[in-house]
Amino acid sequence: MIDFSRFRLENGLRVIVHKDSSTPLVAMNLLYDVGSRDEDPSLTGIAHLFEHLMYCGTKSIPEYDLPLQLAGGENNAFTSNDITNYYLTLPSGNAETAFWLESDRMLEPGFTRKKLDVQKSVVTEEFKQRYLNQPYGDAMLLLRPLAYSTHPYRWPTIGMDISHIENVTLDDARHFFLSHYTPGNAILALTGNIEPEKAFELAAKWFGTIPTRTRRERFLPAEPIQTEERKLTVERDIPTHALYKTWHMGSRLSSEYHAFDLLTDLLAGGESGRLHNRLVRERNLFSEINAYITSDIDPGLVVITGRLLRGTNIFKADDAVNEVIDELKDTDVSIYELEKVKNRFESSNVLSNTSILNKAMNLAVCELLGDPGIVNREVADFRAVSAEMVRETATRFLTPANCSTLYYLSSGKEQK
């Protein structure tokens, strides 16, 4: 049970605090309700590039990291389709330094043309290092536009194309800041060795004077219902074929969300998942195979990714995956197997809550969903999924018409 207190500043900033006195540290998580889904289709990647720009210092704090390091702190950030999330930990005695630093850059970041140019090339190198210069690195870049025709989830956080990042101007960046980095668009979560009263007082002191700005309204095009199976085949210079399959699922708050979560655990949770047992252990078709949900706020994807053993025909492998999927629709999962994935979920939940940083992130994300109390209901919600719900969800959603498949083939001669 994670107990928490909430508070809202007049400028709209939401603050959540959970005290854990077993640690000498405080964790701060500052979530901005902006991700790559909020980008203009001609300027994709700007949300993530902007995360880099937030580290370029401000008028009063020329270097963000320096005072944090002097206070014994450490920080990082990530951008997803839905959110941009900044987090730090530091010794509890120096917690105020975190408030000072984060409020200062929410007030006014200090990037310049030179700094923008440097970060554009850093992000370009990141694009190359993570997506272009890695075997299978561009698979998700291909899969998203295959699965989504309309919704902005069709492009990845890094951006659709390097040229979009290269084209970002200082004005674009300023505009992005003013439209999205408003106190009312942010959630501040604090966990660790700090009294809630103290945290609220510091939040009011440091964030309270930041003027309210109008956030840009979010109008996202809904993804039309997919009615036909989609397939894409590419060839690359890679050692073995890979298979990627996705199906559209409900949103994070939809009633089937936990059934989807449980369903992918049945398929690939731990070393005893069905896909592994059937297709790696029994049939020797894949060397490894995985399944997961993207956990996006808007309707996301169920994803299966597998690497084929050399010599396995891609269509045979695809058929074999479909057989495992069909089994979910044809037969109720046993009580033992259902209990297995539920126990595993509960165990991982307890383990994750041993970290104050995880707790801070989870609280902030659940507040964004409308209720931080969701963190305490996750295990019960997961446990409430029945065998019938799994079967119904699979039958309704895991259909060929709702599926996109990417055949990512090795061009190597040995494969032929």
Binding site: D20, S22, T23, P24, L25, S60, I61, E63, D65, P67, Q69, L70, A71, G72, E74, L90, P91, G93, N94, E96, T97, S103, D104, L107, V118, Q119, S121, V122, T124, E125, E126, Q129, R130, N133, Q134, Y136, K205, W206, T209, D237, P239, T240, G269, G270, E271, S272, R281, S287, E288, L309, E339, K340, N343, E346, S347, S348, V350, N353, T354, S355
Partner: protein
């Protein structure tokens, strides 16, 4: 802004609490158990350590394969059953086989302690290494191997260790595609019976530990004994390879991986804490000289890091990065320039102050919570050291002078000792 000025809040001194009691227990058969009692959740972590790392293997892949096969079938359970039961009880298991040590770590809810120990006796001491499961594992590993051969960072990294430690030493030996066909069950059984012996096991237990735990450890492990087997000490010697500069051409690569460094002192050497300090300043944190110069000023890379690390027989010092092909030569020059600066100009006191506080903050994090403390404990225990090592690091962090850092650089960071590997 209204009403108040945004003046930087005061920074207060802080210190890691390193006076953590570690209880020691010896089971009836000699197994050493270290117990770190802390934490608020009803969850435990146990790490089982054996001297069964790569240093003990006569063939590549032996130590890692023996380790990864432990959960693939035992005297009482098939691989499928065993993995199913582990998942049913929500037991998280991380296998590990490194250069010197090997073993595994389990995380589980306290209520399952007895079940966990019963399963671990099977996993650690009664594995069967079935041929079918070994085939599946080797297929997977061969696939990983082929994929990694495509990555410039792996090509450069493997070549770096081969150059520094020698192509015949287990620390430096590169795996070849043909090695995968050599591993058969009997080799793994032999390796296992020699090195995974209950009397030679060490357990590091941490979390919120039930009072009855010590009795349970004795019940499941205290009576286990192994057969007398003859083991031979490794005769391999560390000798750096000939030649210092290598470029490995990788067709179609759009980035070049750079690895520059050398062998260095181990964790037991009195200069080691100072080298840890030097490393952070050079390339060990976000504000380091290398990051500032090569990422934040020039934008050549997404990241550049240096590390000072130690195995049992040798340490190593390494600068690593991936940069756009067109900037590779300039990046290499800049790395050497930073090293030259380190040897010739004492660092300013402001810069040292940042590194001091950053490292002190890291120490707080290394002692935050039972699992972090357990990892910190293992990191010194495996070198025959204790928490006094961290007290020594703290002292270095607080007191090292600019001249001392420069002297360390002169002693251990000479360009003529460095291997320089580029791939791309």
């Amino acid at each position: 802004m209204t009403g108040f000025s945004r003046i930087q809040p005061p920074v207060y001194p802080f210190d890691a609490r390193m006076d953590i009691p570690v209880r020691t227990l010896t089971l009836g058969n000699g197994t050493a158990v270290f117990i770190i009692e802390a934490g608020t959740e009803e969850i435990m972590r146990i790490e089982f350590v054996f001297r069964a790392g790569m240093i003990k293997e006569d063939l590549p892949l032996l130590a890692t394969s023996a380790n990864m096969m432990l959960t693939e079938g035992s005297q009482s359970y098939t691989a499928e059953e065993l993995n199913g039961i582990l998942d049913y009880y929500g037991i998280f298991l991380n296998m590990s086989a490194e250069r010197d040590n090997a073993g595994l770590t389990v995380y589980f809810l306290n209520s399952h302690l007895e079940k966990v120990l019963e399963l671990l006796v099977e996993i650690l001491f009664r594995p069967l290494f079935p041929a079918k499961e070994l085939g599946i594992l080797m297929n997977k590993r061969l696939n990983w191997f082929r994929i990694n051969r495509e990555k410039v960072q792996n090509i450069a990294g493997d070549r770096f260790f081969e150059s520094v430690f020698g192509s015949h030493h287990p620390y430096g030996r590169q795996v070849q595609e043909a090695d995968f066909g050599v591993i058969i069950p009997s080799l793994l059984k032999d390796f296992h019976s020699k090195l995974y012996r209950p009397e030679k096991m060490t357990m590091i237990v941490s979390g919120k530990i039930p009072v009855s735990a010590a009795d349970s450890f004795e019940k499941y492990f205290g009576g286990l004994r192994s057969m007398e087997v003859y083991t031979e000490e490794s005769k391999a010697r560390i000798t750096g390879g000939p030649g210092k500069k290598f470029h490995i051409e990788k067709k179609g690569a759009i980035q070049t991986a750079i690895r520059i460094g050398s062998a260095t002192i181990t964790k037991r050497h009195p200069d080691y804490p100072g080298m840890k300090f030097l490393n952070v300043l050079l390339g060990g944190y976000f504000g380091s000289r290398l990051m500032k110069n090569i990422r934040e000023d020039k934008g050549f890379t997404y990241g550049i890091h240096s590390s000072v690390s130690s195995y049992d027989l040798s340490g190593y010092f390494l600068v690593s990065t991936e940069v756009g092909r067109e900037n590779a030569a300039r990046a290499v020059d800049e790395i050497y320039r930073e090293l030259q600066l380190l040897r010739s100009v004492p660092a300013g006191s402001n810069e040292l102050e940042i590194v001091r506080n950053y490292m002190a903050g890291e120490m707080v994090r290394m002692f935050d919570g039972p699992f972090a403390i357990a990892e910190s404990f293992k990191a010194v225990w495996e070198f025959g050291l204790d928490f006094n090592y961290f007290t020594g690091i703290m002292k270095t962090i607080r007191t090292i002078t600019p001249d001392e850092v420069m002297e360390l650089a002169k002693k251990y960071c000479n360009s003529e000792d460095f291997y320089q590997i580029t791939a791309g």
